[in-house]
Point group: C2
């Protein structure tokens, strides 16, 4: 079998973020659950947008942010996801390609508009996500090209793909191709409520099929319906080859069988917006992993990338991450 | 005649900014003149966008930024400008309305897309503007509602309106209505090359019709083809009731006949992006002016608003300006 030519190919929802500042009262008035991702439909998006303050539009999407970060470190990456052939689709496509990420998924030419995520950032730097999936709902197995998947050292999948119906099939198809080609499969659990929605399926994936798991504390606890982080940690050790577990300002824990690393968070001068923290942790980790670094170093690179992205608004690096190495 | 019900109505190009970081080499490679505004056509915009790094989309437009800033101080404002009924037009309309600015100009339902300005921010915090006017080219006198104009204490016009053909007529119509209603007419000279393109007409406007002039040093010198700022200053004193002249980190000079105020710039902890500095100076000045403050205080409020906007990316305030008072 040929050697892989690219570090990471990610599959995810192709989303443009609309970031706006809000206070806790706004979240309360609109019944928004702070810190998590809630799916909204077109009319819900319209209503919330009309109520929000002025916004800033930036390309987003969890797995897309991760490959954007990986490319910013100097890694090679591809992305598979579905936009529509509209202005926001052009923004998403431009931004990811301008970073050198290969993005060739055909845009939808009819139906729902490019997905957007209305993100409310509160003064405590927490972000509350409200996602209108739009064109992401038409991603399907036909969008998965076996050659692209087999060419990557790691295929990276976001748990959010379980929400749009066809994306799950695309996910499974890509996972099967990657495994047959002897590649590594990485999964991010995405969000505690996403884990709630698909716990059994995610459990099965983690036990059989996924080599690298990315999760934060709340997601991991939800996966195992555990009482504590440590209890969940003991379970994941037996299930995945590698698990990289983020804990906010407590840093991260990387486990692989008997090997356990507890890594402190990087200091941050000013915490502004936690949007993208997990996505960029995965970017740094995967950059190290695909360069053959040891797991402790991978975790530190993850923390480094996360610390950059939480020091400003938006889920993608403002500073080339390569410059931080 | 009825008392005015609103502080400022502005007429300007309705533009969404696309901000991206670039180095001097990029400007050189693409033949871009640093620090000024250059008009580009659709294919020029496409080519430059394809070459640019990842962008951040934010509502912009010079006069629109000014009323956004005025509203952020707590002033009342309206805006007249033309978008298309597309996604970026919806972004522009949402953002300005979310600040409480009345914006009722009917969007174009056919023809060119909503205008965008591709802004390259260099490490020295200078911004280089490349504007595709799009739907702005169909703004015309029919978009000027006499009641809206007469209801404002000040009507604020950007010099950039001289570029799209019909906007100049809209500008003149609005100016005539405002003068007949006994309102003040304010003009921003916008850009030194814009002054170069329309020097004779701007000269005539400043001499007869405009009560308040906003200009930076380069624009004022260009207007009078003067050798120095001071030489141009002596000329403007005889022409306009009030001139508010910005000089970057040297602060501003406000002149009204024999009254002259030399106002220091507000200190800025970190200069990030000068986009919107002049627009926000005008916002602070007009907020003071319409509240009946003296000219020195108006100039200081202008400096305060400008110092906020140059401390972060983008041409609109991140912090409610009211909070800085």
């Amino acid at each position: 079998m040929a050697e892989p030519e690219i570090d990471v190919v990610a599959i995810g929802n192709a989303i443009v973020d609309v970031l706006s500042q809000a206070d806790d009262g706004f979240l309360e008035t609109h019944g928004l659950a702070k810190g998590v991702m809630t799916l909204i439909d077109a009319s819900g998006a319209e209503g919330l947008y009309a109520a929000m303050g002025p916004g800033v539009e930036m390309s987003g999407g969890s797995a897309a942010n991760t490959v954007a970060g990986l490319a910013s470190f100097g890694g090679s990456a591809g992305f598979i996801g579905k936009v529509r052939d509209d202005q926001l689709g052009a923004v998403f496509s431009h931004d990811i390609r301008s970073l050198g990420v290969s993005f060739t998924t055909a845009p939808a030419t009819e139906g729902a508009a490019t997905a957007r995520c209305l993100i409310l950032v509160t003064p405590d730097a927490q972000r509350t996500l409200n996602t209108y999936l739009g064109a992401c709902t038409v991603l399907g197995p036909d969008d998965i090209d076996p050659e692209t998947i087999s060419a990557a050292k790691v295929i990276y999948l976001e748990g959010y793909l379980w929400d749009p119906p066809g994306a799950k099939q695309a996910f499974r198809k890509a996972m099967d191709i990657a495994r047959k080609a002897g590649r590594k499969v990485a999964l991010s659990l995405s969000d505690p409520f996403c884990v709630d929605r698909y716990r059994e399926e995610f459990h099965a994936l983690v036990t059989d099929g996924v080599d690298l798991l990315f999760a934060n504390e709340a997601e991991l606890i939800s996966l195992y319906e555990a009482e504590s982080f440590d209890e969940a940690l003991q379970q994941i050790r037996g299930h995945c080859e590698v698990a990289a577990l983020t804990r906010g300002d407590k840093g991260s824990v990387v486990v692989s069988g008997d090997e356990v690393h507890v890594i402190d968070a990087e200091p941050v001068a000013r915490l502004v917006d936690t949007t993208g923290a997990g996505d960029l942790y995965a970017a740094g980790f995967l950059f190290g992993y695909t360069q053959g670094e040891d797991l402790a170093r991978c975790g530190r690179l993850g923390g480094l990338a996360a610390s950059e992205v939480i020091s400003h608004f938006g889920a993608r690096p403002e500073t080339p991450l390569k410059a931080l190495l």
